[in-house]
């Protein structure tokens, strides 16, 4: 077996330029490697420049495809209930917790004679999401409390937590009177008791 010829000294710049032909690597001087290759037959670009353009375009296209794949996971339309909805006239509700929108819209409509935050009579909309880990509590009318079946958090009808692991009261949604006299609930705006937001005029509908 013939001894292997000594490996030619390879210029790192040539490697970076993805030149694969050993003959070209040996023949070219570093000065030629920096600019467009003089011995290249291409009329517009040298091979190295062309490869740079090609790799850049390929990388950009791959990045765009990746971004498009990510965007694909976020549909433009989702089949979920609207965040704003009308729930009828104030006269439709008696005092206490009303569960008719719990399943469909995810709120309890509560009519109270004296609210803990606003010290007036009227309505508030409590979100049915437990502030511990996000389960839906049950309303126990005999005990006048919301009780979460997952880990046992308990809330007064005001929404304030008093037992179990829940760290803060239930959240209230924006509740206002619409032009046609109906109550409008807007879940996209939430009010948190511990931030003093229950004092906000739109967190409570006086009636």
């Amino acid at each position: 077996m013939a001894p292997r010829p000594a490996a030619p000294a390879i210029n790192p710049a040539d490697l970076a330029g993805k030149v694969t032909s050993p003959a070209a690597t040996v023949a070219k001087k570093p000065a030629a490697a920096a600019g467009a290759a003089a011995d290249d037959s291409s009329p517009l670009f040298g091979r190295r420049v062309w490869l740079g353009v090609a790799w850049t375009a390929f990388s950009a296209a791959s990045a765009a495809a990746l971004a498009a794949t990510g965007r694909f996971m976020y549909p433009n339309l989702i089949n979920e209930p609207p965040s704003q909805f009308k729930i009828g006239l104030p006269d439709d509700y008696g005092l206490g917790v009303d569960e008719r929108f719990k399943e469909t819209m995810g709120v309890w409509i509560v009519r109270t004679a004296d609210d803990v935050a606003q010290h007036a009579s009227g309505f508030y909309a409590l979100l049915v999401t437990c502030t511990h880990l996000g389960c839906t509590p049950n309303y126990l009318s005999a005990e006048s409390k919301f009780k979460c079946p997952c880990h046992g958090s308990g809330f007064r009808t005001s929404g304030i937590n008093f037992e179990g692991p829940a760290p803060r009261p239930l959240e209230r949604a924006r509740i206002v009177l619409a032009d046609d006299g109906q109550i409008l609930v807007d879940k996209s705006r939430k009010f948190q008791f511990e931030l003093g937001q229950w004092e906000d005029p739109e967190a409570f509908l006086k009636a």
């Binding site: 990510g70 996971m73 976020y74 549909p75 989702i78 089949n79 979920e80 880990l133 996000g134 389960c135 079946p149 997952c150």
Partner: protein
């Protein structure tokens, strides 16, 4: 008068003759390109010329087959993965991942399908695989088998542990009963707190254009997981696809790397 003598060759048993003629056929020779594994060279060729067997090393240390050293937990994990793949494939013939059918299909798998234990085998197999994977990791740790040159394979194993847990987590939702829905609600709420990517996570508020939040309940990483802002039909379908296709594909590729690396890193580690 000359006595006629006749040499009688001892007749080979019928089975041997059949075997010999079978192994002489072109079909046999096209499949098995080695002679009978009755010497070292042929035994090596058996391993090298079979795509399934070549994952396994030709020779292993005596200690490598010692049950009290390996506990066979890696092998058992792989076996359970095969069981789960097979039973899971069978379940897919009956299960539809929609709000309307998911729960009743699961009940039907027990009540209306012959061998109603198929779903239980999948479920218990899944529990067992989580246990064996943890025990495998424990064994590898206690025997110091994560040390060089095996650090990379340990890292591959850690990723596979996470994939095993994610397979378990995604499969948990599919029965679509109360336990499933609320367990996934609680579990996926953790994704809200992902740094930058979850809308309640640290740094999420920084990603905003003026007053417009870029990361909100409809655009964060939890949404990508659930296909909605709560555990609903989108979550069921996405978890189904991840459970049946995405995650098994990923773990299968990593398993191939893992087994191959065991061999390349010097085989199963021996007692120190």
């Amino acid at each position: 008068m000359a006595v006629e003598t006749k040499t009688v060759q001892p007749q080979e048993p019928a089975l041997t003759r059949f075997w010999n003629s079978l192994t002489e056929t072109q079909v046999w020779k096209s499949v098995f390109r080695h002679n009978r594994p009755d010497n070292d060279r042929n035994r090596v060729l058996v391993m090298l010329s079979n795509v399934f067997l070549h994952m396994h090393p030709v020779r292993i240390r005596k200690s490598g087959v010692k049950l009290r050293y390996t506990w066979c937990m890696g092998g058992l994990s792989f076996f359970l993965f095969l069981v789960l793949t097979f039973t899971g494939l069978l379940l897919m013939f009956y299960y539809r991942p929609t709000l309307e059918y998911a729960y009743s299909d699961i009940v039907g798998l027990r009540e209306h399908v012959p061998l109603g234990i198929m779903r239980e085998m999948h479920r218990w197999g899944a529990h067992a695989m989580v246990i064996t994977v943890w025990l495998h990791m424990f064994r590898v740790f206690m025997t110091g088998s994560y040390k060089p040159p095996r650090e990379f394979n340990w890292s591959v194993g850690v990723v596979m542990l996470v994939l095993t847990l994610l397979l378990s987590f995604t499969g948990y939702l599919l029965p679509w009963d109360q336990l499933a829905i609320w367990a996934i609600t609680v579990g996926s709420n953790m994704a809200r707190a992902t740094p930058f990517l979850g809308y309640e996570g640290p740094g999420a508020q920084l990603l905003a254009l003026g007053d417009v939040k870029l990361v909100h309940a409809g655009s964060d990483v939890r949404f990508a997981l659930l296909g909605g802002t709560f555990v609903g039909e989108g979550a069921l379908l996405r978890f189904y696809v991840l459970h049946c296709v995405g995650l098994p594909l990923g773990i299968a590729v990593l398993m191939a790397v893992h087994f191959w690396r065991v061999r390349k890193d010097g085989g199963i580690s021996g007692p120190m």
